[in-house]
């Protein structure tokens, strides 16, 4: 084992896969000399040259399409989107081409494409550089989505993504880049589509992923001192979802709280919630509660941004709400001022 930063784990995966397979190459804006906006590819141009580390003009719409064209003709491109927010510019190539081509060619083509997308708020970057847009892409069949929370998962999942013959959206959270964790010295692939129980507990399941896992673990630690035992489920993959692990956990605890950094409406939590209600309706002891980024453009001011994105306090309060649920009491949010009030029914 060695202790490395999340960012370094990603870089190690990139380096090892470039060395392993001559068809693997990186493309992105300012990934060469500059080393990428966050430094993930720093030094790689020098090691691998401009053939394997391709600096792109600012043409997000077309360079994603170009990656699709390269992927269907024998290469394995890894595209860096500078900030995940900019993926909207590339979305046509992903939504209308990358994820459909195999199907509409009746299986006659494969699209081994990895899209690396730095997501996440909390850095005071404002509304166009802070979003977590993964739930948007969960809407589209044909795409795999992974969102690791630890350096080991980041390295193992990225290597699996690069070797996968399907398009994979790899969510790397900006807030995790400089967090450390142990990774194995030897090669260790993490399979796509397998969740991980990060902390066992019997009272309530909190299903989350990426940077929010740490928040859930901290909250679980605090709640343990109050006698509430939280099971922390790190989804790791959002598409395909590991529903077996999710259902097993919730059938044990009977309670589910979802936690994500993306927007609340139709988010990851909405999907998880729907799946659990469909399959485990009779096992639920309380409503499923969702914690997510408030439905506002992510504000700049630290005071406001901290209010918009999930906090430990919010997680603790929500878990308590779940555990203390009584069927004659509901909590309703005013649709205009978003204040929650208790309603006895």
């Amino acid at each position: 084992m060695k202790n490395v930063f999340y960012l370094k784990a990603i870089q190690e995966a990139l380096i090892e896969e470039i060395e392993r397979d001559p068809s693997v190459f990186l493309m992105g804006e300012d990934i060469g000399e500059y080393g990428g906006c966050f430094g993930v590819t720093r030094g790689m141009l020098k090691t691998f040259g401009s053939k394997r580390v391709v600096d792109l003009p600012m043409s997000e719409t077309s360079f994603m399409g170009m990656a699709v064209g390269a992927a269907i003709t024998g290469l394995r491109p890894i595209v860096e989107i500078m900030f995940m927010d900019f993926i909207t510019l590339s979305s046509d190539a992903i939504i209308n081409h990358a994820i459909k081509l195999r199907y509409i060619f009746g299986g006659g083509v494969k699209v081994p494409l990895v899209i690396r997308a730095p997501s996440g708020a909390g850095k005071r970057y404002g509304s166009s550089h802070s979003q977590s847009l993964e739930s948007l892409f969960m809407n589209f069949p044909g795409l795999k989505i992974v969102a690791p929370s630890t350096p080991a998962d980041a390295k193992g999942l990225l290597k699996s993504a690069i070797r996968d013959d399907n398009p994979v959206l790899f969510i790397e959270n900006k807030g995790l880049y400089w967090t450390k964790g142990n990774i194995p010295e030897s090669e260790c692939l993490i399979p796509i589509g397998v969740a991980n129980i990060r902390r066992e507990g019997c009272d309530v399941t909190i299903a989350t992923y990426s940077r929010m896992v740490d928040l859930a673990l901290e909250a679980a630690q605090d709640l343990a001192t109050e006698g509430i035992h939280v099971e922390v489920l790190d989804l790791r993959s959002l598409a395909p979802l590991d529903t077996d692990t999710l259902f097993n956990s919730v059938s044990k605890t009977g309670r589910l709280v979802t936690l994500e950094e993306g927007y609340l409406p139709t988010g990851v939590g909405a999907e998880l919630s729907s799946l659990v209600v469909e399959h485990l309706f009779s096992r639920l002891k309380s409503p499923i509660y969702r914690i997510a980024c408030e439905a506002v453009p992510i504000p700049y001011s630290p005071v406001l941004e901290d209010l918009a994105i999930p906090s430990k306090d919010k997680v603790i309060a929500t878990i308590k709400k779940s555990c203390n649920f009584q069927s004659n009491t509901i909590y309703v949010r005013n649709k205009w001022n978003h204040q929650e009030h208790r309603m006895d029914i």
Binding site: F63, G65, M66, V68, G69, I104, F105, G106, N166
Partner: protein, 324 residues
């Protein structure tokens, strides 16, 4: 100008290939007719009038050269060597179609002949072609890519981005703009600040060439030069083929936005008629014309029978081919 025996064979080939597209498209349209029990569904964009472009361009390509196609793609597919029976079967929604019936007119291709797909997104093929060109250069192959797109696509941002990237890396791509004067109903005079789309090439430091898109010989000659340049490492070229679709944008278009006079002027330049005249001059006999015509008719008939006789996709097909 008299052509050598070899050249006459080539001219006959052009004629055959253009006639095949024309008859194929006429057949396709007939299947939207209620009396024909609506064998083809949704919509379609036929290539009638533009045959010289696909045939002239593809005559200068090798089988492993790539093309990207458009919403108006049947002509490109046939010219690149696509099997008319499997294209027809795809349009019928049958499992023997190129996409097992999952794609339809705007979503089919065949990697084994270098066809990277027709495309329902205007301009969507431009970046894909750029990627294929990048791939060829990366793998040190000597293939080229032909990117077909229309005048409408030349106003998409992808046109600018793709030509720029192809130019800065000197990728082996021939951008074929089929300027048929209308983006659906929008005339080029309302949507371009320049009379010739080819002039936009200078913005990327590449060569822009105006081509008579109704004359297969002009298309073939200018494509040949561009292909040679691309294969030799000379980078991309933009060819603007001035052409005209004789029918509407899609099956229900009554062409209210253009005049019947304009249409009949362009009909006079019909690429098939031009080639017929040329072959007459070369002394091709009526029997030879009849033979080509019969062969084409037989091919189309066989294609329709194949499509008709083919089974529908099974319900299991719904979920196959989504992931590898």
């Amino acid at each position: 100008m008299r052509h050598s025996q070899n050249n006459i064979k080539t001219l006959q080939r052009y004629y055959h290939d253009m006639l095949l597209i024309r008859r194929f498209e006429e057949k396709v349209l007939s299947f939207f007719d209620v009396s024909n029990k609506n064998k083809i569904f949704g919509t379609t964009h036929v290539y009638i009038g533009q045959e010289a472009v696909a045939v002239g361009v593809c005559s200068k390509l090798r089988q492993n050269d790539f093309i990207t196609s458009t919403h108006r793609g049947h002509g490109h597919f046939l010219a690149k060597g696509g099997d008319p029976a499997r294209i027809m079967a795809e349009l019928f929604g049958k499992v023997t179609g190129y996409s097992k019936g999952k794609g339809g007119t705007q979503h089919m291709g065949d990697l084994s002949i270098g066809h990277l797909g027709s495309n329902g997104i205007t301009g969507g093929g431009l970046p894909i072609a750029t990627g294929a060109g990048f791939s060829i250069q990366y793998q040190k192959q000597d293939q080229v890519v032909v990117c077909f797109f229309g005048d409408g696509a030349a106003n998409e941002g992808m046109f600018h981005e793709s030509l720029n990237m192809a130019a800065i890396w000197s990728l082996p791509i021939i951008f074929i703009c089929e300027n048929n004067l209308y983006a659906m109903s929008t005339p080029i005079k309302n949507s371009f600040s320049v009379p010739d789309i080819a002039t936009r090439a200078c913005a990327y430091g590449i060569e822009g060439v105006i081509v008579d898109g109704m004359c297969v010989l002009d298309v073939a000659a200018k494509t040949e030069a561009a292909v040679e340049k691309a294969r030799g490492g000379g980078g991309p070229t933009l060819l603007e083929c001035k052409t005209y679709r004789f029918l509407g944008h899609s099956k229900n278009d009554l062409c209210a936005y253009r005049t019947r006079e304009e249409e009949s002027e362009w009909r006079k330049k019909d690429p098939l008629v031009q080639m017929e005249t040329c072959l007459h001059h070369e002394g091709m006999s009526l029997q030879e014309f009849t033979a080509i015509s019969n062969e084409v008719n037989q091919t189309i008939e066989d294609a329709v029978r194949f499509a008709d006789d083919s089974p529908w996709p099974s319900s299991q097909e719904l979920f196959t081919d989504l992931y590898c």
